[in-house]
């Protein structure tokens, strides 16, 4: 992968994070992601993988160190500014239960740009955001037309995760964060999901930070980052 800019998309230095002032659950001296890069993050349970994603998304701020995304120091922004920044530049996929049951298939995808004018504009580059949502769904192997009438709660887990991926990708955010999105899928569906997700990220030019402890998936990625076990984190 050739980075598209000289500075990395994402740059973390000397991160430390603790819940409620107790021992640090995450200690990460150095973590960079280039534009469009696909990074696989693994580590044992409790090594702070989800915490890391929270910091990268700007939901939380580290106790020490800093997260720089798109030349912006996240901890230098107010909480509301970080929320807006996340809406504009970050797509997020949860482990499961990604969808709002009261919204339809396409509306769940459109939720990805609901809080961002930038992503709405981006999604409308080749038509309307709705058309872009349907294109993404089709690209991820979900034909919106026959599924539209059904409640999203009636979709299979695999289908739900692909809708979530479409939501994370709509409006081409620079960074897509995925928190063990395949852990509820069977082995076959996992590879298919990761392949589709990464293909669309490549198309969008989005970088991916993909957290999982299923090392079999690591071969799809440019780079693997292992987070140290919590015992070592405590020692550090």
């Amino acid at each position: 992968m050739i980075p598209w800019g000289l500075t990395p998309l994402l740059s973390c230095r000397d991160l430390r994070f603790a819940w409620d002032g107790r021992r640090d659950v995450l200690v990460l001296p150095h973590f960079d992601v280039a534009r469009g890069e696909r990074v696989f993050v693994c580590g044992p349970s409790g090594s702070g993988k989800s915490t890391l994603l929270g910091l990268l998304a700007g939901v939380g701020v580290p106790r020490e160190g800093r997260v720089v995304l798109l030349d912006t120091v996240l901890s230098g922004l107010s909480s509301a500014q970080r929320d807006r920044f996340r809406a504009d530049h970050v797509g997020y996929v949860f482990q499961q239960f990604n969808l709002l049951p009261y919204l339809g298939l396409v509306d769940n995808v459109l939720l990805g740009c609901a809080f961002s004018a930038r992503r709405t504009a981006c999604a409308a580059l080749h038509g309307t955001p709705r058309a872009e949502a349907e294109r993404l769904l089709a690209a991820l192997g979900l034909d919106a037309a026959p599924l539209r009438r059904r409640s999203v709660a009636a979709l299979s887990v695999g289908q739900q995760q692909r809708v979530a991926a479409a939501r994370a990708l709509i409006g081409s955010p620079e960074l897509v964060l995925a928190d063990e999105p395949t852990s509820a899928l069977d082995a076959e569906a996992r590879d298919a999901f990761v392949a589709l997700l990464l293909a669309e990220c490549r198309r969008n030019g989005s970088a991916v930070v993909f957290v999982s402890h299923d090392l079999a998936l690591a071969r799809h990625f440019d780079r693997i980052v292992r987070l140290p076990a919590p015992a070592r984190a405590e020692a550090a």
Partner: protein, 419 residues
């Protein structure tokens, strides 16, 4: 706007719980507004019963008591006013007109009022409306009767109907004045006042049916027939009370004092407005208790909503995390829940108003017939609008509790939801 759409869609999915909550609030609002409406209508109905009458004179008792029995036909007079006193007060130079009232008989549950034909021209109700005849004319003959609209309606009487009056209320057949039947010659148009539920006959008529009675009993062996009575002197010895119209209202206090200081007999003159004021003072406590209860019911309704919102909160953690992930701020989460509570309260208030008007439309015939209170279907008053606004505001405030919890929680949880 976006938050509103999300709140509405989220509520639509939980529509059964939401509908129940809205209904609870609506019923409490219905009670609150209903009590307020009924109170107002009852007051205006009472206040509109006597207009154009400057003084009411009766035997000395309490002002409220006199007002109640003379005008509203509630309760009974303790004693009467002698015909002599009535004549003398009617002859005072300040007095423009008087209408005597003689109560004590009944007809099938309706009061019978002996009066003069002046009653039909002098009595005023509402904004100074005069009595109108739906059919027929005022009484003329000794045994003529005029009936109120409700009497005609309930008993299905038409002109020419023969009716028998009863002595007092609820006596047996021996208490009927069966020997001297009356004939209905006039039916009044509805007024929404106690007149509707009254049978009116002349004072001489009242006198005629009692010529062979003493102390509420028929004199045995002294029967005097209807035709015979016509030949007798039927000037009454007393009346229950009388309405007084003055040439100038400025004289009201002077005449009132003259009546109250009347030497020959203990009398009482009241200004209807002042006596009504005293009546409101009396019923005010009960009214306030009723209002307090309906306010409590509204609070209970809002507490029900709060319970529903708080119970739902745990199930909605995931929803909040998803919204946070797509860029919603914790403030949006707060707004979403507070807005939902505001919408529930507003919907409940709106439904409550709809129910109120439905209830008013359904019950107005019954209430007018049974209690003589005319329920109007006018738009909500300023006070009612304030009450509705208070309900919505309280709902919004109550919603701030779950909203605050969700706000704190979404800051603490971030994107990780522990289910």
């Amino acid at each position: 706007m976006r938050t509103l759409v999300l709140a509405v869609k989220s509520m639509r999915m939980r529509r059964f719980a939401v509908a129940l909550t809205v209904l609870t609030i609506a019923l409490s609002v219905l009670l609150l507004l209903g009590v307020e409406r009924l109170r107002r209508e009852a007051r205006s109905s009472f206040a509109s019963t006597v207009s154009g009458t400057d003084l009411i004179v009766g035997a000395r008792s309490g002002p409220v008591n006199l007002l109640l029995y003379a005008v509203f036909h509630v309760g009974d007079a303790t004693s009467n006013v002698s015909w002599q006193s009535y004549r003398e007060i009617a002859a005072l130079p300040e007095v423009a007109w008087t209408v005597p009232i003689s109560l004590g008989d009944s007809h099938r549950g309706f009061r019978v009022m002996g009066t003069s034909a002046d009653f039909f021209t002098r009595y005023r109700y509402g904004d100074g409306h005069a009595l109108g005849f739906a059919d027929g004319k005022p009484f003329d003959d000794l045994y003529d009767a005029v009936i109120g609209a409700r009497v005609a309606d309930k008993l299905h009487y038409r002109l020419g109907q023969r009716i028998v009056l009863a002595h007092g209320f609820g006596g047996g057949p021996q208490m009927l004045h069966a020997d001297k039947p009356f004939r209905v010659v006039g039916i009044l148009a509805p007024t929404g006042t106690p007149v509707d539920a009254t049978v009116m006959v002349s004072l001489a008529g009242i006198e005629a049916i009692h010529v062979d009675w003493r102390s509420g009993m028929r004199l045995p062996g002294m029967e005097i027939g209807a035709a015979q009575a016509r030949a007798m002197d039927l000037t009454p010895t007393s009346v229950t009370a009388f309405l007084v119209g003055l040439k100038s209202r400025l004289a009201a206090f002077a005449v009132q004092r003259a009546v109250n200081d009347y030497a020959a007999e203990p009398l009482l003159a009241i200004l209807p407005g002042v006596a009504l004021g005293q009546l409101w003072g009396l019923v005010g406590t009960a009214e306030n208790a009723l209002r307090a209860v309906s306010a409590m019911v509204v609070l209970a309704g809002l507490c029900g909503m709060l319970t529903a919102l708080l119970t739902m909160l745990d199930q909605r953690r995931r929803e909040m995390a998803i919204l946070r992930a797509v860029g919603a701020s914790a403030r949006t989460v707060f707004a979403l829940l507070a807005l939902e509570a505001g919408l529930l309260a507003a919907a409940g208030a709106a439904l409550g108003v709809v129910l109120l008007y439905a209830a008013l439309a359904a019950l107005r015939g019954f209430v007018a017939g049974r209690y003589g209170i005319l329920l109007t279907l006018g738009p909500p008053s300023g006070e009612e609008c304030l009450l509705l606004a208070a309900v919505v505001l309280l709902g919004l405030l109550a919603g701030c509790i779950p909203a605050w919890i969700a706000y704190r929680r979404s800051l603490a949880d971030g994107l990780q939801v522990r289910l």
